[in-house]
Amino acid sequence: MLRIRSNGEQFAVKQLVLSAVAVVALAACSEVASDAPTSSASSDDGSSGSTSTSSSGNLQTVAAPLVQEDASRFLVQASFGPTEREIDRVMRDGYSEWIRDQIRATPTLHLTKLNAIVAAGDEIERSSASDSFWENAVEGDDQLRQRMTFALSQILVVSDGPGSNLSDRPLAMAYYMDILTRNAFGNYRDLIEEVTYSPAMAVYLTYLRNQKANPNNGRVPDENYAREILQLFTIGLVELQPDGTIAPGAQETFENEDIVGLAKVFTGLSLKGGFRRDNPPDAYNSRLEVYPEHHSTDAKSFLGLTIPENTDAATSISMALDQIFAHPNVAPFVSRQLIQRFVTSNPTSAYVGRVSAAFEAGSFVMPDGEVVGEGRRGDLAATISAVLLDPEARQPAGVVADDFGKVREPVLRLTHWARAFDVVTADAGEERYLQNTSGPDRLSQHPFRSPSVFNFYRPGYVAPSTQTGAAGLNAPELQIVNESSAIGYVNTMSRFVRDDSPNRGNNVSGDAFSPNYLDELDLAEDPEALTNRLDLLLTYGRMSAETRSRIIGVLQEMPIRDDRVEEDRERRIHTAVLMAVTAPEYLVQQ
């Protein structure tokens, strides 16, 4: 049933855990208890900058939440935000079943929506793919898949930002978003192949119409994709151990000669219909085609492989991706970054090792004993299950170490609020502010719109002049937090929280991204109960005593006038919600 390359003992231990609400000590697993210190080297390649101290040897695997707050925290990690309904489902089903249910759920796709716009005779707008992102993130039932899409978009980066040739290519963006969405629980090897043949990546990393060398005029193949597929998408720059650490004396993974050799592989690809012209309207949302006359016929040498001369493009690409994917770095490289996107910026090497093992094995045994994954190396369903169900991820928030957790990404801060208060429509076509949240006066982050292929922030970022920096911790998201963006976030949220739409569409008479505070309004005159509710939905029970007392203190000062009960209650709700979503305990997830 299982093909496990390593850590068999650990899986065996987990298989004993069959009770749905079981709390099983994993202390027997020596790997957890003895978390070896790692190299202090920090890098862009997802390797560990330091080791969290939160692995104390008393880790427990938890199959189901004991209290609603645990479920809420799980949903902060695994979805675009907890809702009352999802909290109840996690309480009822347990973590494993919730994940399996999410894996089974029908994918909510993007391109179909854009095609429907065209079919209805309407125009697609530049922002249509981005609009679709918000809609799926906030309203999609396949929450884990959508989160996975967003996480993968921060590894396999394309961007439709200013200066990118994708800014007016929403169909190319939607097609690419669907590749990530469809493969979210598929296999990483298949994913990088679909990415390689996608018009969006070819445009973004400039291998669309890339041609073989021409000795007569000195032209050589473009090296862009060859470099970044290695450095950013698969193996990184330095040899990694299976647990993501860098061994002393580790070598760089490739040399420039490898890039020159690999660049020949990505020649001869262009849009369907014709290498330079005659491309049909759906060319940007169709798989790239091979144009053999432009593909290099040279032998192509890189990473220890030589593809013989006169090998065709499809075969060359397949061989190249196999060779890259076979590199032992891929599992720790991808695993650590996924942990950083969902759970914590500084996973212990043991945690990375366990997720890597699931990636390698292509399967993962859930705490309730069921197996997820097809058993093929690179299985993402197994990998994400290992990320979310790891004992380190599931330790209760109250007991995690002070270096555990991560800064909540600004996009997630917005969606977590939106889902908690059931925004009435996530149609960003009607709330134009959502069409670009990139500026420091907004969120400093917009989905699929990072400033470069290096994402919004680097996995190995250590923030200068900070407590996390002094402790040598990685804090990727702190790369976009500063005196401008910190305040831009507050001002942005204040508009949304008050339903004071920053930029509502002209033709919109009703609601656009409007919160529904009906349940909260009932509690407006009971500040204590209201605060408890916000604490559950937004901060999984971790709201600080200071924030709590300040919210209650302010609310008590806000009169409810007999002739304006509704208005005054609403003011209280707006005030309390805004204070909750701007408190440090909301800006960070533990």
């Binding site: 890098s43 200066g163 050589v220 862009n224 400033p451 470069s452 200068p464 407590q467 305990e585 960070v588």
Partner: protein, 471 residues
Amino acid sequence: MKRMSRRAFVQGVSAGGLAVGGGLTTMLGASAARAADTSGYKALVCVFFKGGLDCHDVMLPYDQASYDAYADVRRNLLNGYNGIDGGSTRARNRLLPLQGRNGSSFGSRQFALTEEMAPLHDLFENEQASIVANIGPLLEPMNRSQFRDRSRERPPRLFSHNDQQSTWMALSPEGERYGWGGRFADAALLSNANANPVFTSISVSGNEVFLAGETAAQYQVGGNGAQTIREMTNRGLLGSGRNSDTARSLIDAHFGAESLSPTNLFEQDLATINNRAVTANADFNESLDTLAPFTTQFPDNGLGGRLKTIAETIAIRGTLNVSRQVFYASIGGFDTHSNQANSMPNLQRQISSAVAAFNSAMQELGVSNDVTLFTASDFGRTLVVNGDGTDHGWGGHHFVVGGAVNGGNIFGSPPPYTVDHESDSGRGRLIPRLAIEQLAYPLGSWFGLTDAELQAALPRLNMFETPPPIV
């Protein structure tokens, strides 16, 4: 330290490429342990070209023989330029030759800037700017054969964007926590340069390691003043008179993240940043209210706006109570793997007009001699063309601008515009002949740091020859 004369340096260049001199060890040995000089006012401004500026498309060869060789190896790109509106700005007769002071030091070789760089060309000819040729990350000097046989140590992670950005800014790859700008700021703060230390190390383009010091924390300011929380002002509903004094003081405490004691380190950081944002931004805006508008017009483009913000910040240096400042601004779009002929001209117009406006504003403020701007980038690019663009390189050419600059000079040694020469690591990826330390040293010395402080900020300084007298 006694500077060598410009003449001596120029001779050194023409003789063998690198500056002559007794070596830094001798000079450093002579320096006494004194604290950084923080008298008067001085500011250092780093303008970073994100993506890797193609140096071969900025400073071109001008003498006919070199130009012909260049046109041959860059044939595909020049074909692209032939197709742009208005015709090729890379045609030899449209280039702007660099006369300068040491134009004759390179034998028969002559150099030129492109037409789009006219404002920077003017600054060069007016001795307000110089060019530092073929500079980049090095651990020790090396040539082509030493690069190939690995007898000299290569800088790690060459040709990688993020790592070479970090190396330019902080002398080692990504993950380094302190930049040399931040180290310079640290030294100034150690000598009590600034009554208000928060305004020492300032970015207008996001968080970057260049500005990070051990004591100097980076402060971020955007256009139109520092941001303020609307809800805390009387424009916001929470800060308005509708709320009681008690409520407003609780609201202020909340948004200012006052008196919080989270145990989680990330929460501590967020609380600290929120607190600093509220207090420092209020101080900054109070100072900005005193600012009289400039006569100088800044170009209406991204970098123009960012350099204007820096100029305004320098203008209020008195009320901010600072005597030493380090600034950082960036502009993206230089990773020209593709479509270079269509993107580069606009980028060049933007950088040269913005830098020239900044220089004028400094003259208008009367601080021209007190502010030095320099440019940097991830790396240069290949001389060989990949179709319609160029790939990642290593060494590149950069500008140093300001009244204190020994203007009108090409410092260092521009390599031939061909492949396989002594400074070519392959396809025209230049092996630098000047290390970043050799630019940082004269800038830091001008900024007021002692040689001991510079040695600490630039640990590999002794590996290289005496830096050129750039300022």
